[in-house]
């Protein structure tokens, strides 16, 4: 692809930041399970998956940094709470195991749909990265499909908690596909090969049958997510932000 014009560059930066923040914030939330997951083996698995997400965020921040001339660490850690652009799905605290599993299940499928599409992006560095990330996300999908099934079949208590979490997260999960200011520009340039609404439809086609197969209630259909799905922040996220910027914020210009 030839040199990007200013409008396309800004639109691409918006997409990269949204994806990076999704992975980054979710990685931090779920890394809180380290040491307290249900069994030792799962503790290691959940911690490693969370590290994977932070690794993906790093790669995306670096792509963005190459575009904007900023420093990747500064982008990751140097913004105020309202400067983050993750979907509302990642605004919630870790809560209980069922809640974390419900969120991962919803997110992993959304991420898979997004990456599958981006693997054909006209912006080659993003297409290459999407292909690479998908290989790791294959395992994430398997792992959280498995946990969804198990908790759904694991008895009344775990089924009820899972159903409640899916219900509570459903509308915020749509926000992974919240419209972006530069979306039309990205679609026209084939950087984003399909509209976010087309991706959301595909995600629903995958997630709903899996919920039904596990006898989990499928929440009522929702309208297209609104643009504020990636800008509204919560006190819970503000707390997490305080945690993950604690060290970097302790001395603003330190070299680590």
């Amino acid at each position: 692809m030839s040199e990007l014009d200013a409008e396309t560059r800004a639109a691409l930066a918006e997409l990269l930041l949204a994806m990076a923040d999704d992975e980054f914030v979710l990685g931090f939330w779920d890394s809180e399970w380290t040491g307290i997951a249900p069994i030792l083996e799962e503790d290691v698995a959940m911690s490693s998956v969370s590290q994977d997400e932070i690794g993906h965020a790093k790669a995306l921040y670096e792509l963005l940094a190459g575009l904007s001339g900023e420093d990747a660490d500064r982008i990751a850690f140097g913004r105020p709470v309202d400067g983050y652009r993750h979907a509302a799905l990642m605004n919630h605290a870790r809560t209980d195991w069922a809640f974390s599993i419900a969120r991962r299940f919803l997110y992993e499928h959304a991420d898979a749909v997004r990456l599958e599409s981006l693997a054909a992006s006209a912006y080659q560095p993003l297409a290459d990265l999407a292909v690479k990330m998908r290989r790791e996300e294959t395992y994430h999908l398997l792992h959280f499909d498995l946990w969804l099934r198990r908790l759904a079949e694991g008895g009344d208590d775990s089924h009820a908690r899972l159903a409640e979490a899916i219900g509570a997260l459903w509308s915020d999960a749509q926000a992974v596909f919240a419209p972006m200011a530069g979306e039309a520009c990205l679609v026209a340039a084939r950087i984003l090969p399909e509209s976010l609404e087309a991706l959301r439809a595909r995600w629903l086609e995958r997630v709903i049958p899996l919920l039904e197969a596990s006898h989990l209630p499928v929440p009522a259909a929702t309208d297209r997510p609104t643009a504020d799905g990636r800008t509204q922040r919560t006190d819970e996220f503000a707390w997490l932000h305080g945690e993950f910027t604690m060290v970097s914020g302790s001395e603003a210009d330190a070299t680590w």
Partner: protein, 105 residues
């Protein structure tokens, strides 16, 4: 989980063609989760070409010393036959040594 957990022994192959070597074990209630955990513990850093995940209770163990460590010298049963290195050394000592090198002169 807990009481339903089984122990699975994990064998790994480092490179194509290498022998499968015991890596360690994981606890999991069934084969599906055992596979995930084996991958997490023994395969997520590109260190393995393939894994074998075997329920420990499928393994037949033999550790009887009467069978495995017979008390008599059975070195003649080894592929290399009798160990004669020490006998040879003793014989050379008795014969007064460096003869071997001078023999050809």
């Amino acid at each position: 989980m807990g009481s339903k957990d089984r122990v699975w022994e994990v064998f790994r192959q480092e490179a194509e063609g290498d022998p499968m070597v015991h890596g360690g074990s994981v606890k999991a209630p069934d084969e599906e989760l055992a596979t995930h955990y084996a991958r997490e513990f023994y395969g997520r850093r590109q260190e393995s070409e393939r894994l074998w995940i075997v329920p420990r209770d499928a393994i037949t163990e033999l550790d009887d010393p009467d069978l495995l460590k017979p008390p008599f010298d059975r070195s003649f049963k080894r592929p290399g036959g009798f160990l004669i290195k020490h006998k040879l050394e003793a014989a050379r000592e008795r014969a007064g040594s460096p003869q071997v090198e001078e023999a050809g002169e």
